[in-house]
Symmetry: C2
Subunit: 212 residues, 2 copies
DNA sequence: TAAAATTAAACAAACGTTTGATTAAAATAA
DNA sequence: TTATTTTAATCAAACGTTTGTTTAATTTTA
């Protein structure tokens, strides 16, 4: 598919759709909601995107195209060891998750729905791409002897993505058990970014290497 | 609230609702779908539960009441050390997640939706209960010197729940990357149960204790 | 017979989508 | 240049369905 270029109105629709789908889910968001908040006529959604479902798919494609991990350049850098490369990757991942929360909420929710929609295949493709990226890094570290053998990469990915998803989706829970209900959103984002980074790096270090 | 006792027809509605909500979400499931698959008249749902939303809440309450962790008896058992207690808890958790997938898919999905519905508060309460259970165990292990200090229990919970959620929601992805697309469901359940158990125990061991 | 359970039918509201008219800019013909 | 045709964008209104819920009549149970 050719890399579409969208006009202003189309982008307004997609931005609003991303936010509302993230907040209320696909079925929970009506095209009239989207049109109203984006300041366009309802008909424009069908006019530009064909249908609500296709809007979702195009939105997903546009977003996921921007999410290709930058692991290719990273893997060739000779100046840092493989653990540090993994650290950079984790920070990259965490950054993306926290700064693109609406998009990832869509992913989390639609992932649960098994059905063979077009979106399900798009999500599958994205996850396979990310798995391949991490795999390269870890196998590289194993070849230099820096990492242990017998590492279950798929399970580590589940932990990486799962932990981040859990933090994104249970923010008010986290605020409550940490007694930080009144912290402003910006500071809170910084906090869970830091928490996730530290925690995941620690996990990966002890699992990948032999040191505690 | 008094522990309701439901008649056969009510239970049929709740069972069907649990399955369909798990598969297609709350907004994605109509009361007519539920009524048809449960073999009852549509009006019976309003008659017995008041509304679709209240059906969801009652369903959630019934399920979550059965999900209280059995940590109380566990913590007093003098014959096993604290790491083994944590292992038992993990297996208990994994068992529940895998055998009650529909219910947990509902939780995962509704957790994403922030709004202050009655359900959101129910989920919050359940998570706080579970956190308290784990906390007891870990603090107990720290007092005996078996576990390290400075353990971020909330983050470990996020990893525990997040990893399981991730595996539950991306089963077809996991089948594909592991080349086990044709494995029957029962065997597959056993496999991810084992994978989760091993992986999570390993993670908790290296984080809680000093051994690798 | 009185109460509870069950039904088909009806309800208004919301849903995604299509329509036909209107506008204004761009392209073509004179 | 003018005049004419074509094109794309925009809109209010209407389309047919589906939504959750209620009603009123009927059957079953106690």
């Amino acid at each position: 598919m050719v890399s579409m270029e969208y006009n202003e109105k189309q982008l307004a629709i997609m931005d609003t759709a991303e936010r509302l789908f993230g907040e209320n889910g696909f079925s929970g968001t009506s095209v009239r909601d989207i049109a109203q908040e984006a300041g366009v006529n309802v008909a424009m959604i069908s006019y530009y995107f064909g249908s609500k479902e296709k809007l979702m798919e195009m939105l997903f494609e546009q977003k996921s195209n921007k999410l290709t991990l930058m692991v290719e350049n990273l893997i060739q850098d000779e100046n840092v060891n493989y653990l540090q490369k993994v650290y950079v990757l984790i920070d990259d991942y965490v950054d993306r998750f926290v700064s693109q929360q609406a998009f990832h909420k869509i992913m989390i929710r639609e992932q649960v729905t098994e059905s063979g929609t077009g979106l399900a295949n798009q999500i599958l493709a994205l996850k396979k791409r990310n798995l391949a990226s991490i795999k390269k890094l870890i196998v590289g570290g194993q070849k230099t002897g820096e990492f242990k053998k017998n590492i279950d990469i798929v399970m580590m990915m589940a932990t990486l993505v799962g932990t981040m998803s859990q933090m994104i989706t249970s923010q008010c829970y986290y605020r409550e058990v940490s007694n930080i209900e009144n912290m402003d959103d910006e500071e809170f984002d910084k906090l869970i970014r830091k928490k996730l980074s530290t925690h995941l790096k620690h996990l990966f270090k002890v699992v990948l290497t032999n040191e505690a």
